[in-house]
């Protein structure tokens, strides 16, 4: 045991013929009764031109070695397998910790010599180790708490310029559902960004949250019912953040229209909300988003969609009487009322293809829809596109899609991305208010919208556009999914900050996790609920962090 919780000296470095210390790694043995865990940060004295320097390292794995050359030697030493045998002298052994070098405070990357005393780094040392000391205090966003085996705690700050731009942007969170606490972390992180934004800039950031599961994000303006315990309060305090819900006057909820009269299609109804719906006229230019998951090997569906988009945009004669979904599916130009069949040929497209298109469309917007598709929107039913074009800095917009069918979710997600992108790319003529400089967009289950694969759908293209060019426009994607390998690599590759929760070893062996050492991958398979591995552009190695439970009210299934 670390008898004194603030114990610092824990062992000595050890270089051997077979296992040398290098510029990247070193090894040390632990003094008896010392407890060290993976992800502890340690320091060792190193040479420097000025005399001495400190090399910091991250413990990745520990192993216990004895002088027994084989397991057979241990079997024999237990009197040939007697379970009750208690040896007179315990076998000599020691625990050896393997360490990845994080940094040296004088930029000396000589291998750490053997026989040097290893200490736990203190709070200041941890920050030097991670490069936090080089961050401008104004740019520091608390991303979690680093807790070491000796009780030392330090805030893992990440650099605002690498989260919100201009250096780099985007955050991606992966891990097994239920254990990785991805949504809770994303919400904590957004809280952290908003609370640490200087007052003068608070009105320059908007947040759009997609609620994809139950009513998780539909009460973020309300305080949780069960008060946080002391430990949680201490974590908030240590992070320098306030455990408070998002301000009611800044939160806006948008729930999808449902089939029941005047009721949204939602797991729960917040005390204030708007309802959104899709009519044909506001959706015509986004029909392709509905087809994101429908195979179209010969691009026939794509050509029909293009004709419809062009036709409605240019008000072509064929479409002058098409104002609703019913018009589109039951009248010209795609349907012949006389024969009650799809037209045989339209603009060089064969009738059978048009029939396929109609069948899909009927299923998606009529027979198999949740209620968001209407032939005409009532005055209370908002167009999300119009609402997004009006977003204000400092406000949080929650769009609920939890109860929608998959194709509807695709449409809403794509609509939001398109709207944000167009808002940021070109200010609407009728808008007088300044456009928020940064729009943070949080989406869970990103693999649905930007799946891995060589041929991206129109929706995936939109996500890629945001991932690759969003930084320059100020659109920041905070995304989450169970499996990073299931997401398009160009999206995750553009995220300067990656968070990994508990994941399976099969998943961690995918090439998407190449940035993690094998030892760290092993640790990621046994992370506790609420513990995450944080990889940030500024850090030389990923670190383990924990974060407090959300301060807002949550609904579980």
């Amino acid at each position: 045991m670390n008898d004194k919780r603030n114990i610092r000296e824990i062992g000595k470095t050890s270089a051997t013929d077979r296992d040398p210390n290098t510029s990247d790694k070193f090894t040390f043995w632990l003094a008896p009764k010392v407890i060290v865990n993976p992800f502890d940060i340690v320091e060792v004295e190193q040479v420097s031109h000025e005399g001495k320097s400190k090399t910091f390292g991250l413990v990745t794995i520990l192993e216990h070695r004895t002088d027994a050359p084989t397991h057979l030697a241990n079997f024999i030493s237990s009197n040939f397998g007697e379970l009750t045998e208690d040896p007179n002298t315990p076998r000599q052994g020691t625990t050896v910790a393997h360490v990845n070098v994080l940094s040296n405070n004088n930029n000396i990357y000589m291998p750490v010599p053997s026989e040097k005393v290893v200490k736990f780094a203190d709070e200041e040392g941890i920050q030097v180790a991670l490069g936090i000391d080089t961050m401008n205090p104004e740019n520091r966003i608390p991303a979690g708490l680093i807790k070491m085996s000796n009780g030392t705690r330090a805030v893992a700050y990440i650099d605002r310029r690498y989260v919100l731009g201009p250096e780099s942007a985007h955050v991606n969170i992966s891990g097994i559902s239920g254990l990785a606490t991805k949504t809770s972390y994303a919400m904590f992180f957004i809280q952290s960004i908003l609370q640490t934004t200087p007052e003068k800039d608070k009105n320059k950031i908007s947040v759009i949250l997609l609620n994809v599961k139950h009513g998780d994000l539909l009460q973020i303006d309300q305080r949780r019912e069960k008060e946080s315990n002391i430990e949680q309060m201490e974590m908030w305090d240590a992070l320098g953040l306030k455990p408070q819900p998002f301000p009611s006057d800044k939160v806006h909820y948008y729930l999808p229209r449902g089939k029941k009269m005047n009721r949204p299609n939602s797991f729960l109804e917040p005390s204030f909300y708007e309802t959104y719906a899709y009519d044909f006229e506001s959706t015509a230019d986004k029909i392709d988003l509905l087809f994101a998951q429908i195979p179209d090997t010969y691009l026939t569906l794509e050509s029909i969609i293009s004709e419809i988009k062009e036709g409605t945009r240019n008000n072509e004669p064929d479409f002058k009487d098409v104002h609703s979904w019913t018009n589109l599916l039951s009248d010209k130009p795609l349907f012949d009322k006389q024969t009650k069949l799809a037209v045989k040929d339209w603009r060089g497209i064969r009738g059978s293809s048009i029939g396929v298109f109609r069948r899909h469309m009927r299923r998606m917007v009529q027979a198999g829809q949740s209620g968001i598709f209407v032939d005409a929107r009532s005055s209370r039913e908002k167009s999300l596109n119009e609402e997004i074009l009006k977003i204000k800095g400092g406000h949080i917009y929650v769009i609920d899609i939890a109860q929608l069918y998959e194709h509807e979710q695709m449409l809403v997600f794509g609509d939001l991305l398109k709207s944000i992108y167009s808002l940021k790319a070109e200010q609407p003529e009728d808008r007088t208010e300044p456009i928020p400089e940064k729009v943070i967009f949080f989406v869970d289950e990103l693999n649905k919208y930007a799946p891995a694969g060589s041929r991206p759908s129109p929706l995936t293209e939109l996500v890629l556009e945001i991932a690759e060019r969003g930084r320059s426009l100020g659109v920041i994607l905070i995304s989450a999914q169970q499996f990073m390998s299931a997401v398009h690599e160009r999206v995750t590759g553009n995220c300067a900050t990656k968070i990994i929760g508990r994941s399976s070893s099969t998943e961690l062996n995918q090439p998407d996790y190449r940035f993690l050492d094998n030892e760290i991958k092993s640790n990621a398979t046994r992370l506790s609920k609420g513990d995450l591995i944080l990889s940030h552009a500024v850090y030389r190695q990923p670190v383990k962090i924990s974060f407090p439970e959300p301060a807002y009210k949550q609904q579980e299934s």
Binding site: P32, D67, A68, P69, T70, L72, A73, N74, I76, S77, S78, N79, F80, E85, D86, P87, N88, T89, P90, R91, Q92
Partner: protein, 382 residues
């Protein structure tokens, strides 16, 4: 890193300058020890143990029944053995010296000894440790002339460095014929001297509840040390390898004559033999079987020889021999199986003492790197 053995350089420089040197291949070659070195040493030290005719135990054992059951007595029941001592040696042949018509080997030894203290919870720590480097040279008609020897003696040397004449009378070296073997045996004698120093360091800590185990025979010490054990024995010697030729004769008939194999083959597990007398009663010794015979290849495996110094030539009480034997049986585990071919009779703390010494020796690479002859003096002139 500076040369850790730079103090040898002036000695080698004198030798290189004053005599002709044929350096060993690669600068130095390690002399491998005889695999049964301890048994050979046992034969030399215990040369009087050829015929065993008396017991050294009271009450006197019945020659017909010389096996005693000594059930295991673990450390947690009684922590009897708390100090363990061992010595170790590594010898290198540096080259052949030629002075006049005399040719002789030049040898270098690293010798060391360590005492391990075992705490009541079983943890081991180094209680004391000594280490030296010895340059072994012959003198006079077998080697160096007096003038060169005197020059070498005049050079200031650090404490850890010693120059020894391996032609001086020595119990272990005298039986060797080959000068290289003689030098090696001399180094072993010097190693035993270090062991004796360390035995002394435990004097004030040993008592009836804290015993010391010496690796090997007890009769290698000088007379004054031997006599000091009159007041404070509390030590035993434990030999893993011992001479296999003693004959035990208790009675006049041929049927009452037994060889060691016959005695040990019948020795059951967790038993000891009766205590025998040697050196006219000055050493009491017996054998203890640590392991079941079925676990091992042949009857003499798993048996240790225990030596107890009796400076006053009094036989030892059976209870004491039982206590010592029971405590020794508990020492069988853990065992250095795979690390020592004599694992079956090895005492782990002794093995650790040896590891401590060896790990503090300079590696062969370092040592060979430090041996630099000033300039080859040999050439066409020979």
């Amino acid at each position: 890193m500076p040369n850790p053995l730079s103090s040898i350089t002036p000695l080698l420089e004198i030798l290189g300058k004053e005599i002709k040197i044929l350096p060993a291949t690669g600068g130095a070659v390690e002399d491998l020890q005889h695999p049964d070195q301890e048994e050979i040493e046992d034969i030399v030290i215990n040369n009087e143990m050829e015929n065993i005719t008396a017991f050294a135990e009271i009450p006197e054992p019945d020659p017909q029944n010389i096996y005693y059951h000594t059930p295991l007595l673990s450390r947690t029941q009684k922590h009897l053995f708390q100090f363990f001592i061992d010595g170790s040696i590594r010898t290198y042949f540096l080259g052949t010296g030629i002075e006049g018509t005399r040719t002789f080997p030049i040898e270098l030894s690293q010798i060391g000894s360590a005492v391990i203290k075992r705490e009541d919870d079983g943890e081991l720590r180094v209680f004391d440790h000594k280490q030296r480097i010895v340059l072994l040279l012959p003198r006079q008609n077998q080697g160096l002339s007096d003038s060169i020897w005197n020059q070498i003696q005049k050079i200031e040397k650090p404490d850890f460095l010693e120059v020894a004449d391996f032609t001086l009378p020595d119990k272990l070296a005298d039986i060797k014929k080959d000068p290289r073997d003689k030098a090696g045996a001399k180094a072993r004698s010097l190693m035993h001297k270090l062991e004796i120093d360390l035995i002394k360091s435990t004097n004030s800590y040993r008592n009836e509840n804290r015993w010391l185990i010496i690796d090997g025979a007890v009769k290698f010490v000088e007379e004054d040390i031997w006599n000091s054990w009159r007041q404070n024995p509390y030590l035993i010697g434990v030999a893993k390898s011992f001479r296999k030729d003693p004959v035990f004769q208790f009675g006049h008939r041929t049927s009452q004559r037994k060889d060691i194999t016959g005695i040990l083959a019948g020795l059951p597990h967790a038993h000891r033999t009766a205590v025998f007398s040697a050196f006219d009663g000055q050493v009491a010794f017996w054998y203890v079987r640590l392991r079941e015979q079925k676990e091992l290849d042949y009857p003499l495996m798993g048996v240790i020889k225990v030596e107890f110094p009796c400076p006053d030539r009094k036989p030892i009480p059976s209870e004491l021999a039982n206590l010592i034997s029971s405590a020794l049986i508990a020492e069988r585990n853990v065992t250095p199986y795979g690390l020592d071919r004599r694992w079956h009779c090895s005492l782990y703390p002794i093995h650790i003492a040896e590891e401590v010494i060896k790990n503090r020796f300079f590696s062969s690479e370092v040592l060979i790197g430090c041996i630099k002859w000033s300039k080859p003096q040999i050439g066409g002139g020979l």
